[in-house]
């Protein structure tokens, strides 16, 4: 049986705008992925803990509050500290080009801006997960 893509979708920040992330969740499900949705107001430690427990290939976050330059690095730091640096981190939000470059340099795999079709994110995720290789031995 081919391994399924498992992806965690989370919504950090205090606001409750979850329309976009729910659309993405439905699109990923319809593309055959297993989507774990964590709900609203997740802190970086909550997100990374959930990602580890769920053993996901990728974490997707939706950040609309303008706090992306704080939240993405905080999640990355948390991932590294908890030995989960190999999980793909991507996100969506209103982020200017220069900051997207900055975030990508830090280790965010991809940032989607408003209006990006869901197909694009599905394609991205499939490719990124496909490239991921683990050489760890189970036993």
């Amino acid at each position: 049986m081919a391994e399924k893509i498992r992806v965690l979708l989370a919504k950090p920040g205090l606001d409750g705008h979850d329309r976009g992330i729910k659309v993405i969740a439905a699109a990923f499900r319809d593309a055959g992925m297993e989507v774990i949705y964590t709900g609203l107001r997740q802190t970086p430690p909550m997100i990374v803990d959930a990602a580890i427990q769920e053993d996901v290939d990728a974490i997707g976050v939706s950040i609309l509050s303008g706090a992306h330059m704080t939240l993405f690095p905080a999640i990355l730091k948390e991932m590294k500290e908890k030995g989960a640096g190999d999980i793909i981190l991507f996100g969506g939000g209103i982020v200017p080009d220069e900051e997207i470059k900055e975030l990508e340099a830090l280790g965010v795999a991809k940032v989607f801006t408003p209006g990006a079709p869901t197909e694009e994110s599905i394609r991205f995720l499939r490719e990124a997960v496909g490239k991921k290789k683990s050489d760890e031995k189970i036993m």
Partner: protein, 565 residues
């Protein structure tokens, strides 16, 4: 009206037209002819499209004249010829001091209405020094922790003279309690205090998701507050029942209409169950709708809303006072339709949306700024948004006559269609055990998620074009996004001030009043009165919310909300 002869001529004329039109139907300018809500629209509407339009019952029960039941054509007899809609632009300001200065400026310009936006920590019931508030203090509105902040905001502003609207929901009662505490200190009698509180917790569960406690205790907070205000603050609008956020979260026009009115009926029933007389509170209820892009569907939506509300209030809830039947509403253009691409196009979108609000008979209107999908609006964009309303009001002539689209076969048919769709939803909500149960089971949330997903799929299948997004794209467009600089100082100052207030207040009294609040929440004392006492001794919003969190628990979105079919 339509005599037999007329109908014969109509029918044969239509048959003739259909034959001729058939030759052109192979060619289609668009893949589908449907509304933004996904409803297919006929090629042509005729007198035949409106059921029983030639009967006197139709005229009396469906339409009637403006200012007359069921108010389809407007709640006032003369509408905009007597008074234009209120051009109310909502704005958020960082610290209490900045907000105070802004208010002073507005009043100096002759304004009498103040509108307050709060920051996210306040909206979620966290004090500025809470870990969750980090980076959010004062960002999209003013931070209010204690009465001390309210005193700064309204320093030297006579609360007997101004009307203040406060956009806040879960902690709404606490903010009103603080506002009243300021009024008391100023010596303003409560029966002179005017304003509007959004205070619509139901749509928070459904759409905006700024909730704290579970639905049932939240409703209790509202009825306690309504009881208090009906007695003591009779000029205060206690709830603004909001469809705006429901639409923004992905609802169709029919869902916005149905869920918002269902929420309204739920408040009415809750207040009646709490022992209040319907005519004592219903005239203080008002509504808040979205103006989306489908021009005619939106106009029909507002007209249908008035008719439905009037009928239910009069016949189902037995309201006697005409004011209880009249649905008054505020409108805001749809933020979710604005695009980051080619942002100047948003000016056009906003203008058309605003026009639908006016043609639908709105009482007040907020026009969005073209750049707000990118960042906080610039001063210039805010001005253009206001000017848009003024152009509509003074240059287009649309305010010359009342309900100019009334009698349009298309608009009347859509009005009837939306009313029928809403009634079908009311039946379904009832069958599922009512509004609260639907919220707890995630029904509304599921419906919205489904509509939002369908809309997205329609775009991706190219059935829908969004100018500048999936067509008419500028290849080389580089969107300049002004970077939002977070002024950390606002947060540091606010936290320091809160610390000072907590050190200087009488903490014994704070603990005592908070204990009384807990007691009221556990039993059946009036929580609003208890909050008023807490506020007066400078208990914070966070402290009061914590007391209620302890008693009632916190709410997490129902898992059923995710069950997208």
């Amino acid at each position: 009206m339509y005599n037999k002869k007329f109908l014969e001529v109509l029918k044969s004329g239509l048959a003739e037209w259909d034959k001729k039109a058939a030759k052109f139907r192979d060619k289609k300018s668009m893949p589908r002819f449907f509304t933004v809500s996904g409803v297919d629209i006929d090629e042509l509407y005729t007198p035949d499209s409106v059921e029983a339009a030639d009967t006197e019952e139709y005229f009396q029960e469906q339409l009637n004249n403006p200012g007359e039941f069921p108010y389809t054509r407007g709640v006032h007899h003369t509408m905009y010829r007597s008074r234009l809609w209120t051009m109310r632009q909502f704005a958020g300001m960082g610290t209490p001091k900045q907000t105070h200065e802004r208010f002073k400026y507005i009043l100096a310009q002759g304004g009498t209405g103040l509108s307050t936006a709060f920051d996210l920590p306040t909206l979620m019931g966290y004090d500025s020094d809470h870990a969750r508030s980090l980076g959010e203090v004062g960002k999209c509105g003013v931070a209010v922790d204690t009465l001390a902040d309210m005193e700064i905001i309204f320093d030297g502003i006579d609360l007997g003279q101004v009307s203040t609207s406060m956009t806040i929901n879960s902690p709404a009662s606490m903010l009103l309690a603080m506002y009243l505490a300021v009024a008391e200190k100023q010596g303003v009698p409560f029966d002179q205090v005017r304003g509007t509180l959004q205070n619509d917790i139901l749509k928070e569960y459904i759409a905006q998701k700024e909730f704290i406690y579970p639905p049932r205790p939240s409703i209790r907070l509202i009825t306690d507050m309504m009881k208090y205000c009906t007695d003591k603050v009779p000029q205060y609008n206690t709830i603004s029942i909001s469809g705006y956020h429901i639409r923004e979260a992905g609802a169709t026009a029919a869902q916005e209409l149905a869920f918002t009115l269902a929420d309204g009926f739920c408040y009415v029933e809750s207040a009646i169950d709490a022992g209040m007389d319907v005519d004592a509170f219903a005239p203080r209820l008002s509504f808040f709708f979205n103006a989306h892009s489908d021009f005619f569907e939106e106009i029909a939506k507002y007209r249908a809303a008035r008719r439905i509300w009037a009928r239910h209030m009069r016949f189902k809830y037995n309201a006697q006072d005409e004011r209880s039947w009249k649905l008054r509403f505020h409108t805001q253009t749809a933020g979710c339709t604005l695009t980051a691409q080619q942002p100047e196009n948003n000016i056009v979108r906003v203008a058309i949306q605003a026009l639908s609000g006016v043609l639908g008979g709105t009482q007040s209107l907020h026009t969005n700024s073209m750049d707000e999908t990118l960042a906080l609006p610039s001063a210039k964009a805010v001005l253009i948004a206001l000017r848009t309303q003024q152009v509509i009001a003074y240059e287009t002539g649309v305010a010359n006559t009342i309900d100019p689209l009334g009698g349009s076969w298309f608009v009347e048919a859509q009005t009837d269609r939306l009313e029928a769709e809403a009634e079908a939803y009311f039946t379904e909500i009832e069958r599922r055990g009512g509004v609260l149960q639907c919220i707890e089971d995630g029904y509304f949330q599921r419906e919205l998620a489904r509509s939002a997903y369908n809309f997205q799929l329609e775009i991706e299948k190219d059935e829908r074009k969004i100018v500048g997004v999936n067509d008419f794209v500028l290849e080389e467009e580089k969107v300049e996004i002004p970077v939002l600089k977070i002024d950390r100082q606002v947060e540091l100052d606010q936290v320091a001030f809160l610390k000072k207030v907590k050190a200087e207040r009488d903490n014994g009294k704070v603990q005592a009043t908070l204990a009384k609040l807990a007691e009221a929440a556990k039993g059946d004392g009036n929580t609003f009165e208890a909050m008023y006492e807490c506020s007066k001794v400078y208990a914070s919003v966070g402290e009061m919310c914590d007391v209620l969190r302890e008693v009632w628990g916190v709410w997490e979105e129902s898992q059923g909300a995710m069950r997208v079919s």
